[in-house]
């Protein structure tokens, strides 16, 4: 094992000095053929003999206690095996990176939809039928004692606010200022594959196929819940049908299946229904955001305030980090950034794609547009004037930052004309047409990771890690890194992922997977290169690896000849080290969009959308761009249609399915235009790569809001901007 800690920017820029020439190339995904032919096996699909079927039972009260179940009645139904309500089962999903079991007391009900039991039967329909028939006896807490809606609870400060200078005074003195309140409604990840697990118990070890993002944490969460040592747990997630935050931590179905498998001595599969995924996994908190922005006469920020109110269940540490990008994106000496958290009894709030920036940037970028109008300058120019030289509060330098380039590149591609921003000037038939823009920003995360690389005697290589590929392209980019470092055709590199028997990494979350685990793969390959140098007896910088041959001076050898029947296996152990905190490191970008708003119905259609992004080195251009367009489409959903609706009486979700919670469909999304700006960020990772999975959403909804204003002259400050919020204010035709 080779351990290396990143204590300073890695300026060696190794991947630009290797010979294979495959890094960054838009290669097809190696997992593609299996996925497009239906041969990729997701968690619920493993063929396990004698597997019983479990269906979760969720609480139909908002707070109280389960006194008991009338289980005899359902146990008498055909095929029903057991009703389990066990103290090991979990009542909430684990937060991302929790590394320990979440709240477990399933009989103590804290929100409507909390898992309280599992019904197990021979077949799925039998279990479903019995779960629906199961009568539950409750003690129901008096509604007056239960805060269910954010306005029924007092919000308390979450963490220390950032306070610098005197924002109240600066707002008063500002030549131009806006003081605005934006709100966003709750959202969900809605990954297409519903949460699913199959658990098997052999009397000593619990093995589960499960749909998860971060196995290295999930194994400890499950072990803790079951009170087993982690060595007695194995998790497998080779294919994951999307996560977007909802599978960062373990969810109720995995623990319920595990408990049932242990109790019944046979494998048990539990798949949530779509409704259950909505009701008991994770929501993104609704937000209320006050933005105070003040500038001098030239539009240079002197005051920057961003205060947010969010919610979560009692006891949860997570609060949507709404102000995350506000800390570093724009200038303004007088600052106040704060998050206030209201404790309410609704399903657990947690990470949904780009926690923080997804909603924070949406509101900030809309407020910046209002500020640009107040100052009377092109909104692009307002952003350009407010790119700080150093981090505004920490006074540290930025690492590579391509915000200005992205603004220029995207504006150019889009054909932006910011000279006349008067609203409601352009109409085509029944449609008001307008354009809008926004910056994109998302903090860069990096984490410790290990990976094993084996250069096999036959000249092929295997990469192994517990990292997951949730659609992000991990199989693809790790293959390219190893192929580049070892001089192999990527076809000759096999990547094996999603198994806790492999070396641990941080998993897929916070856009840190590729940069972290990729750095571990690179490190393992570096050590293999050293071994080859030893065998060839030459200097490291003389070594060239390409197409399965090692060349050193005038010596050239094919790997099988060089390896003489013996594999070289190395584990790279990458540690973040002292680089953390030295630089402000983030991904940046820009969005430009054109919308049409129907003059009669208030319906908004996004007609065009361009995004330019700086993500450090792109490891595979094709998969990186797919992440970007995916994020932009999420921005469309956030801006126009996606919202959880809660019944104010009991907190149950009124729209817990894909018919009523509207994610964008094909016709809602125009032919998205995304482009990457060339970048290397040596402070971000030894690969010079940053993250890409979340950036495309961070600000996108703000651009659409701004375009709607430009089209119609109506500024809606409550997302999503549904027709009912526009229609009464639309200009006369």
């Amino acid at each position: 094992m080779t351990t290396r800690s990143m204590d300073a920017p890695d300026t060696r820029n190794l991947l630009d000095h290797t010979a294979q020439g495959v890094i960054g190339k838009p290669l097809d995904r190696p997992d593609g053929p299996a996925k497009v032919t239906g041969r990729a096996t997701y968690a619920a699909e493993h063929d396990i003999p004698n597997c019983a079927e479990g269906v979760l039972v969720l609480a139909s009260i908002s707070k109280g206690e389960v006194l008991g179940f009338d289980e005899e009645e359902v146990l008498a139904l055909p095929g029903v095996i057991a009703v389990i309500s066990d103290e090991r089962m979990i009542a909430r999903s684990a937060q991302g990176g929790a590394n320990e079991a979440p709240v477990q007391k399933v009989r103590n009900v804290e929100y409507f939809g909390q898992p309280i039991a599992l019904v197990v039967a021979e077949t799925g329909p039998q279990a479903q039928h019995a779960a629906e028939r199961l009568k539950v006896r409750y003690r129901v807490e008096d509604r007056d004692n239960v805060a269910i809606n954010p306005d029924e609870a007092k919000a308390e400060p979450h963490k220390e606010p950032t306070i610098q200078g005197d924002i109240d005074h600066a707002m008063k003195e500002a030549a131009h200022a806006v003081d605005l309140t934006y709100t966003t409604q709750g959202q969900v990840s809605a990954a297409m594959e519903m949460h699913a697990s199959i658990a098997e118990w052999d009397g000593h070890t619990l093995t589960a196929h499960s749909s998860l993002q971060m196995l290295n944490y999930n194994i400890n969460e499950l072990a803790d819940a079951l009170d087993l040592e982690p060595e007695r747990v194995r998790l497998i997630s080779r294919y994951v049908g999307g996560g977007f935050g909802s599978k960062l931590g373990i969810a109720a179905e995995l623990v319920a299946a595990s408990v049932a498998a242990i109790e019944l001595g046979r494998p048990v599969r539990v798949v949530m229904t779509r409704r259950q995924v909505f009701e008991c996994v994770i929501r993104r908190s609704e937000t209320e955001q006050r933005l105070r922005l003040g500038t001098d006469a030239d539009g240079r920020l002197t005051a920057f305030g961003h205060e947010a109110r969010v919610s979560n269940l009692p006891g949860e540490k997570f609060a949507e980090p709404v102000t995350q990008a506000s800390k570093f994106l724009y200038a303004g000496h007088n600052r106040k950034l704060a998050i206030n958290l209201a404790r309410i009894h609704r399903v657990t709030a947690g990470s949904v794609r780009a926690p923080g920036e997804a909603v924070g940037m949406q509101a900030l970028e809309a407020a910046m547009d209002e500020l640009a109008n107040a100052v009377g300058i092109d909104p692009v120019e307002l952003r350009l004037r407010n790119i700080p030289e150093r981090h505004p509060t920490m006074d540290i330098p930025y690492s590579s930052r391509k915000l200005a380039e992205c603004l220029h590149v995207a504006a150019e591609r889009f054909g932006w004309d910011g000279s006349d921003r008067r609203p409601a000037q352009r109409r085509e038939g029944d449609w008001w047409i307008g354009t809008g823009m926004a910056s994109a920003a998302r903090v860069h995360n990096l984490a410790n990771a290990q990976a094993r690389v084996t250069l096999q005697a036959d000249g092929t290589a295997i990469v192994a890690s517990d990292m997951t590929d949730i659609g992000t392209g991990t199989y693809t980019v790790l293959r390219q890194i190893a192929a580049e470092m070892l001089g192999l055709d990527p076809e000759n590199v096999l990547v094996r992922l999603g198994d806790t028997d492999f070396p641990p990494g941080p998993g897929s979350g916070g856009s840190h997977g590729a940069a972290s685990t990729g750095s571990a793969v690179q490190l393992a390959c570096e050590t293999i290169r050293d071994r080859l140098v030893e065998r060839l007896g030459c200097k490291p910088d003389e070594l060239t690896l390409k197409d399965g041959f090692a060349t050193c001076g005038n010596r050239r050898a094919a790997y099988p000849d060089l390896l003489q029947g013996a594999d070289i296996e190395e584990i790279g152990k990458f540690e973040v080290g002292k680089i953390k905190g030295q630089y402000s490191t983030a991904m940046y970008g820009a969005f430009f969009t054109e919308v049409a708003v129907n003059a009669w119905s208030g319906e908004t259609r996004v007609r065009r959308m361009t995004g330019a992004f700086g993500i450090g080195r792109a490891l595979n251009e094709k998969t990186a761009l797919s992440q970007c367009i995916g994020g932009m489409a999420w921005g469309i959903g956030q801006a126009l249609t996606e919202q959880l609706m809660f019944d104010r009486r009991d907190g149950h979700i009124v729209n817990p399915d894909l018919a009523e919670y509207h994610v964008p469909v094909n016709l809602d999304v125009p032919d998205l235009d995304a482009v990457l700006v060339e970048e290397r960020d040596p402070a971000a990772s030894p690969l010079q790569a940053k993250g890409v999975g979340e950036l495309g959403i961070c600000g996108a909804g703000g651009a659409i809001c701004n375009a709607i204003y430009h089209a119609t002259g109506v500024r809606v400050r409550d997302f999503p901007i549904t027709p009912d919020k526009l229609i009464a204010q639309l200009p006369d035709v």
Partner: protein, 171 residues
């Protein structure tokens, strides 16, 4: 329990169904036939992940009971191609990265396959200017006709790209 013996032809092979009459076609395919390529994303006809082709037409297999398909010819994603021998649509999906997690993908491909036939047969859509006559599959037409298949990874632009290319190659 009522007698439910049924015979279905799936990807050219004969399967007998005699199970619980509540079994959806989707669950029959996934659980009893081992054909897990057809996905379940909602079980309520809201997402299109479970799309299969029955007697030439695309349907949501979660909204249909297995017992209703006696004598029907069903094509699932497994019947369109194999990893070593991809169908033109499957190959185009790989080339254009018309998927990410891959979970909606079998449904998208089955849907697109049948959609191309619907267009050839002159079926109009919500965005067609003309209800009669030939259908020209523009980007907008394809997007509309594929809007019953949700992709939360939102590979939509690439899905349209892949279908356009397949269509043009087939002309």
């Amino acid at each position: 329990m009522p007698q439910t013996n049924r015979s279905l032809t799936i990807n050219g092979d004969t399967y007998e169904f005699s199970g619980d009459p509540r079994t959806s076609l989707l669950d029959f395919l996934r659980r009893d036939c081992g054909l897990t390529g057809t996905k379940k994303g909602c079980d309520h006809g809201q997402c299109g992940s479970c799309t299969v082709i029955v007697n030439g037409q695309r349907i949501n297999s979660c909204l249909s009971l297995a017992v209703m398909h006696d004598g029907d010819a069903i094509t699932t994603i497994e019947g369109l191609g194999t990893p070593d021998d991809l169908s033109p649509l499957q190959a185009a999906f790989v080339k254009h990265d018309a998927y990410q997690c891959g979970y909606c993908t079998p449904g998208q491909i089955c849907s697109a396959q049948a959609m191309l036939e619907e267009a050839k047969a002159g079926w109009p859509s919500f965005v067609s200017d003309d209800l009669d006559g030939e259908v020209k599959l523009t980007r907008e037409e394809i997007s509309e006709r594929m809007s019953g298949n949700i992709c939360r990874c939102a590979a939509y632009s690439n899905i349209v790209e892949a279908i356009l290319e397949t269509m043009e190659a087939g002309e």
